[in-house]
Symmetry: C3
Subunit: 358 residues, 3 copies
């Protein structure tokens, strides 16, 4: 961040530039006011920027001590009518996207020390760009390539022949195994494991013969992989995460899956082998997706839902047991065990009724 | 452990001291008998201590070869009546708590070598107390602080500006990222990741703009964090785990959650962003809790339950599908897909009945 | 792999030798054809081996460019009738098991450099076999033992007094904690944590007293443990994974569980404390198994199923909510909350009918 923060006029110009000329904002109030950081509406003070994207927080906006608030035109009008005058209003059609870029400008990632730490372990034959950063304890295998501006944190591992693209980050103790490829501008968080063996065994005489997993993981540009998430290498052929997909923590992606571009997957999701998830999908937390199926572009899967068959139409799909006080659940669960009996009784009543009313 | 173990009289005195004068125990039998370690009722031998807290294991207590058994007064009477005479009985109102402290005394944690291992990597400007222990391969960032008696295991990472309180442990390969704070007497198990980025993106023209996560994780005193559990840093403001909370393995705590004091969370639980869990709650394994909701103090959530809305009354709440033989489940599931149809048929029967009996 | 690959006659002989003289295959076509690697039916080219184990892929086999295809006699006949002539057919009763062994022969694991890397950290008193490989950044504790041909990857940790058996692998950043034992020919994938403390606390005056976990984890021969899977040490006594069991990624095995021989557990499964899973079971992804119960040998648990009570008969057991379009689910869920009311109405209809038809 520029020392002393940025004036709102400078910030709006910089955001618009990052957005390719879009996200133009109109400033209502002192465009020269400087902001230094971001905060929530309730916590923000005069040198801080906040945002209002959901009308239910309008009350918090009215009471906020923020120096500036980004918000949509309709909300700006509402605040103006309420004679709210302390905050400068940054009026923009998509305030949440605008705020995200403004936060990037006000809170740039801490610059990593350029170069290879003396306590890093780089195998002979690895190619590390001179502008990359490799932390202490990090290990880079033979034949690996690390792109310009890439950052490898303490204790992270990049296997033999693996590739980390330009400006991508491996956070501390993340692991990318041999021959896997990570694109540009990706983020792999701590504890994530990219390229462990897929789970493949052939039964033989009561035991299991391991099937070597000879494929790779290929992660395209602009992908984020959460902490302790695992993405297994393909059995034959690759597991692929397409550009712009975002994966939260504690996710399991099995061998030979394809995760479509710009799809977002919340925490604790599991996706079994060879599933193909479309582009622009949203998978809720702890959803579980069976293997060898296809989910169409643009699907939303609710949290906690088990997807056991392909979905070929966009839409929202749900399947979890509704929560109840425990005693109610016990009764509900008992009836569910006897639903067939209940249906039979209804059928008998219907038959009796038909006999009674000829 | 004292060489040769401890006599039961010394052990009961030491437990009571640890319990602040509470947990006074009465010894029935030879108070000078020495015990060296703990074991289950079925495995224990004469130099071992065991416990009986659940009457269903009374038979095992009667058959046990343990040198001493901690148990409640009522159980002691039952054992006495059965002429059980080999074991010394340690009679105490709360035998499980007594046994926990006795185990701590008989099995103290292996002392870690004091000081910084020559193969550890400590950045300039980090403050490591002289009584702390830092293992080989561990990395401590600039400006980090490590308290008295704290232990950082092999390969663990403490980020720049992060704090590890007195007598707290980071087990091997655990990660605490920049500027997060861990209180005193905490335990962070291997593979846990504290302070990775929360999952926050703003949609913009079909892609996702990352919202920098500028908050921290703050973990208060006496908290335990299980292996491979993840606790994300706040977007703005902090994610907080309050004092005395205990988290098992493979848990995901998203950005800006608050976990109340003394709450226990079993393995594989996921808690989405900005959820506030009360104090003294018990969250069962694999429960999933949606974001932006509140759970009252003293709630129990059953395993496998999805909590989709706030809970404002203490109590036990449940919601999982009861298990059945697969064929029964197939029929049950088919009827559940047609529950609305079943209800309609009941309504028609009721209407017909009303017409028939005017 | 032998340079230039292997001829099919050499390959079939080698597979049969690995299988103890079983899996004899008959070659239809040029037994001298050389194959260098494996690929799927759709991707394979002339120097590659593929397989057909499921009749639904027969069309892909007919169109495949593979140099050789392993398949069962019945499928071979079908392909022959279709005048498929390019691929040499390897006809064998169990083509999937044959193919698994053939893949092992064509794709042997990359040989790790024998010896201890100069950047590894081996405590005094650890015994590392001269044929073992220890990577950079790996840490081996005092008194640990590493068997012949074992491989410890970059950044992996083997605790004090722990044992890694002959030809077993710890992949990068895997952790095996103090005094745990891993048998021969095991694979522990990256990020797995073996031997963290079990989750045991005694309640006392509103807080939780930690119960030291003084048992171990014992993993028998030929076990595979997936990436980021956790297996906790026993409270007293051991947690045990019996020979030949295979565990996928992101699994949680709590203290004092026993996982039976040759049981396979898919990703994201959680198993609570002291559960005993039989031999030759198959546990589907994200299934959750409560503690202190027993599952009989040969059970199959469907994905997403919560097992809350013991199972004493082999069979398949299921319990997950079927997925629906969200609007349908909302209606279904509402009725499930009122199932008791629905059953009452059926009872009233039945009573009315009995009154009407004496």
């Amino acid at each position: 961040m520029a020392a002393g923060g940025l004036s709102l006029s400078a910030l709006t110009a910089a955001v618009s530039e990052r957005a390719g000329g879009k996200l133009a904002a109109r400033i209502e109030g002192d465009a020269g006011r400087r902001v230094q950081s971001v905060a929530t509406l309730s916590a923000a003070t005069g040198a801080q920027l906040s945002f209002l994207a959901n009308p239910r927080y309008r009350g918090e906006a009215l009471a906020s001590g923020a120096g500036a608030i980004a918000l949509a035109p309709a909300e700006a009008a509402a605040l103006r009518d309420a004679a709210r005058s302390d905050a400068v209003l940054v009026v923009v059609d998509q305030p949440y996207a605008w705020f995200a870029l403004a936060t990037q400008l006000l809170h740039p990632a801490a610059a990593a020390a350029t170069g290879i730490d003396v306590a890093a372990h780089v195998a002979a034959g690895a190619l590390v760009d001179g502008s990359a950063s490799v932390g202490p304890g990090a290990c880079i295998g033979a034949g690996a390539r690390v792109g310009a501006g890439a950052v490898i944190g303490a204790g992270a591992v990049l296997g033999a022949g693996a590739v980390l693209g330009d400006e991508s980050w491996l956070h501390p103790n993340a692991v990318v195994l041999d021959h896997c490829e990570i694109g540009a501008r990706c983020i792999v968080h701590s504890g994530a494991v990219i390229g462990a063996d897929g789970f493949g065994f052939a039964p033989f005489e009561g035991r299991w013969i391991k099937i070597p997993q000879v494929g790779r993981v290929v992660i395209e540009d602009d992908v984020e992989i959460g902490a302790n998430t695992t993405v297994d290498r393909g059995t034959m052929g690759d597991t692929r995460i397409e550009r712009g997909a975002k994966l939260d923590n504690q996710i399991q992606i099995a061998h030979n899956c394809v995760i479509g571009a710009y799809t977002v997957i919340a925490g604790c999701v599991g996706i079994a082998g060879s599933a193909r998830i479309g582009a622009h999908c949203q998978i809720g937390g702890a959803a579980m997706i069976a293997g060898h199926l296809t989910i169409a572009d643009g699907c939303a899967i609710s949290p906690g839902t088990l997807v056991a068959a392909s979905i070929d139409q966009p839409g929202q799909y749900t399947g979890y047991f509704p929560m109840m006080p425990h005693r109610d659940w016990e009764r509900s669960a008992a009836i569910i065990r006897q639903l067939e009996e209940l249906r039979r009784r209804v059928r008998e009543l219907e038959a009796a009724q038909r006999r009674a009313t000829p």
